[in-house]
């Protein structure tokens, strides 16, 4: 171990960051399935997916800010970005994605409701909705048709943007030639597909949970369709990860022995047990069964819920193994260190738990402000029940 390598540079917060942006990108891709690819079955999750993406995106920069030695200097990334740094692109990609894609699309999609609510609500809420109309109260059919057209274009631009947002996170790690655990051109691609898995699983679970909470029946046609997409994208994700693994084992370059030792010792539980067996193979088998065997609705729903939760755990473990695992071995390939997570420090466990729950709080506020369900569905059962 080189003496400066003993302490880890990137903590659990940097594990959270790709996890959160992954959920954003994945949720958006799910929304785009409705909008661009016209998968009508999953329409009930369209708005929920957009609001989920927004609430997680709002939290995404917080772990980074907290991790910086000098957070007050972070605006320098906007003013004096370094042209050869992948990280310098973060601010631009983030702002672009937040303002030009997500907020714009949500605004266009909700404009009619916002205008109606600004007329029907009272007090502070009325003011809030007034501000959200941005001074435009025209909801004539022609104007709404234009909204819909523009929103379609925004989603179209949004798909490559979502890929960029998360592919860039993969590139941050994949481009570090000093670290053989990270350095791989597959890294951005693996990150994108794992992002889709986590985002789709996340929205599916949120949809199931919110529907239950509202006392309604889950639209089985919708979750069937989501689970099918989850299954296929999961297969691509798993294949890519296995390709990376097989490639490493077969090439067995100078780093192999050191990394192999790590995977069989410190990373055995998070990598082999949690990420691969529990978080990938188990949900894949469960989803496979739902695809080939005709099961009763209730069983399917439960299997989807379990697979979704396991997938979320598996993807978190994947981020952990990349970020933390990549810092546990020495760049000399001689020696290892350990990561001890603090509890109450700036980068400790409590902050990490808080940052994981914060997007759910944001989502709750957003759902209250901009209800993602059809207006009359609170009284009538969802179609397909």
């Amino acid at each position: 171990m080189y003496p400066n390598e003993v302490g880890l540079q990137w903590s659990v917060l940097i594990v959270l960051y790709p996890y959160i942006t992954g959920l954003v990108a994945g949720a958006f891709i799910l929304a785009s399935l409705v909008r661009i690819f016209r998968v009508e079955a999953i329409e009930p999750t369209y708005r929920l997916a957009l609001l989920t993406a927004l609430s997680f995106l709002l939290v995404a920069p917080l772990p980074l800010q907290l991790h910086l030695g000098h957070p007050e200097r972070s605006p320098e990334m906007y003013f004096t970005p370094h042209s050869t740094s992948a990280m310098a692109m973060f601010g631009y990609i983030y702002l672009w994605y937040l303002m030009a894609v997500l907020v714009f699309e949500i605004w266009l999609d909700y404009r009619r409701e916002i205008v109606l609510l600004s007329q029907s609500s009272k007090g502070l809420l009325r003011l809030a909705y007034k501000v959200m109309t941005l001074g435009s109260s025209n909801i004539s059919p022609r104007s709404l048709a234009i909204d819909s057209r523009v929103s379609w274009i925004v989603t179209l631009i949004g798909i490559p943007s979502a890929f960029l947002l998360h592919g860039y996170v993969g590139f941050i790690f994949g481009s570090i030639k000093a670290n053989p655990w990270w350095s791989s051109p597959l890294m951005p691609v693996v990150f994108i597909f794992s992002a889709m898995v986590s985002g789709i699983a996340g929205v599916m679970l949120l949809y199931m949970a919110t529907t239950k909470l509202r006392g309604l029946k889950i639209d089985i046609r919708c979750v069937d369709a989501i689970a099918m997409y989850l299954f296929y994208i999961f297969i691509i994700d798993f294949s890519l990860e296995m390709l990376d693994l097989v490639h490493r084992i077969y090439e067995a370059d100078e780093s192999f022995r050191s990394l192999n030792f790590l995977v069989h010792t410190q990373l055995y539980i998070p990598h082999i047990v949690i990420q691969i067996c529990l978080g990938t193979l188990t949900p894949l088998v469960l989803l496979f069964i739902t695809q080939v065997v005709k099961l009763p609705e209730i069983v399917r729903k439960r299997m989807y819920a379990v697979s979704g939760a396991l997938a979320l755990i598996g993807i978190f473990a994947m981020r952990w193994n990349v970020v933390i695992g990549g810092q546990l071995f020495s760049k000399s390939f001689l020696g290892y260190t350990t990561y001890k997570m603090a509890l109450v420090t700036k980068e400790g466990l409590l902050v990490a738990v808080f940052l994981t729950l914060l997007p759910l709080l944001f989502l709750w506020v957003l759902v209250k402000l901009l209800p993602p369900w059809p207006e009359n569905s609170a009284h009538a059962p969802a179609p397909g029940d």
């Binding site: 080189y2 003496p3 400066n4 390598e5 540079q9 990137w10 980074l64 991790h67 910086l68 030695g69 000098h70 957070p71 200097r73 972070s74 320098e76 990334m77 003013f79 004096t80 970005p81 370094h82 050869t84 740094s85 992948a86 990280m87 310098a88 973060f90 941050i172 481009s175 570090i176 030639k177 000093a178 670290n179 100078e254 022995r257 030792f261 810092q327 020495s330 760049k331 000399s332 390939f333 001689l334 020696g335």
Partner: protein, 254 residues
């Protein structure tokens, strides 16, 4: 001049960026030093190093290096007889790894060896002041850079402390300063070499195992040395353009 709202929206950010560029750009004056006349590096003569740790102590004192962090450090390698007989096993079999120690960076020297077999040697390490340095490449704000004289420096008033450069350095030469919360590393004693002095580590080395070299100076003895010796850099496969040259480097050194 009449500016409407739209023009202002474009002009204001542009003006802000221009103003930041003006603020960023004025280097400190050094009237007797011309950066473009130099191309600094270091020669480390492994057979001459006795592992006394003078360089580590001198560096710490000269540069206020915090305890537990190192701008330079010394490693002691022990390659066993078995390894020398079975070179095919180096880096493929964990039982045959060379044993490397660097207690407190070798600051207080090394314990007496108990195993008399095999060979022992010391490897002083430091920032390689790479010409194509991966650490400066990744800095999101350009706070770390290669100066025109080949020294890799950090502007600590500008560094965000994101630690991306620490991750990117293949040699483990950077750290986040625990109090300043910014990246810190060997500056090749820039405050000394720009005044015509040598570095603190070279000054303190009792055997001349470390020598500051100016590859642009035709009178520097390094040129003669390079003609008569086989020198190597660490991890040449990284293609970083490292400028710390090692004489007598063993193949087991990583």
């Amino acid at each position: 001049m009449n500016l409407n709202r739209r023009q202002m929206l474009i002009l204001l950010p542009a003006a802000a960026i221009a103003w930041k560029a003006v603020l960023a750009g004025t280097p400190e004056e050094a009237p007797n030093y011309t950066m473009s006349d130099h191309w600094w590096g270091m020669l480390i003569d492994i057979p001459k190093c006795i592992g006394c740790g003078n360089c580590v102590r001198a560096c710490q004192t000269e540069n206020n290096v915090p305890d537990g962090y190192f701008r330079t450090w010394v490693e002691r390698y022990h390659v066993s007889d078995w390894e020398m007989k079975n070179p095919q096993d180096i880096m493929t079999n964990p039982l045959t790894d060379p044993q490397v120690i660097s207690p407190d960076g070798g600051k207080e020297g090394f314990p007496v060896d108990t195993d008399a077999s095999g060979k022992y040697f010391f490897v002083p390490k430091m920032c390689n002041h790479c010409a194509d340095s991966p650490c400066t490449q990744v800095c999101p704000v350009g706070a770390t850079f290669v100066a025109p004289d080949g020294v890799v420096l950090v502007d600590q008033k500008y560094c965000l402390g994101c630690a991306y450069c620490v991750q990117a350095c293949p040699y483990g030469c950077r750290y986040i300063h625990p109090e300043k919360r910014v990246a810190d590393k060997c500056t090749l004693c820039y405050h000394r070499i720009t005044k015509g002095l040598t570095t603190a580590c070279c000054e303190a080395c009792p055997t001349g195992a470390r020598q500051l070299v100016d590859l642009k100076n035709p009178k520097d003895p390094i040129h003669e040395f390079l003609k008569t010796h086989s020198v190597q850099v660490l991890k040449p496969q990284m293609a970083t353009g490292a400028k710390v040259l090692y004489n007598g480097l063993d193949g087991s050194v990583r």
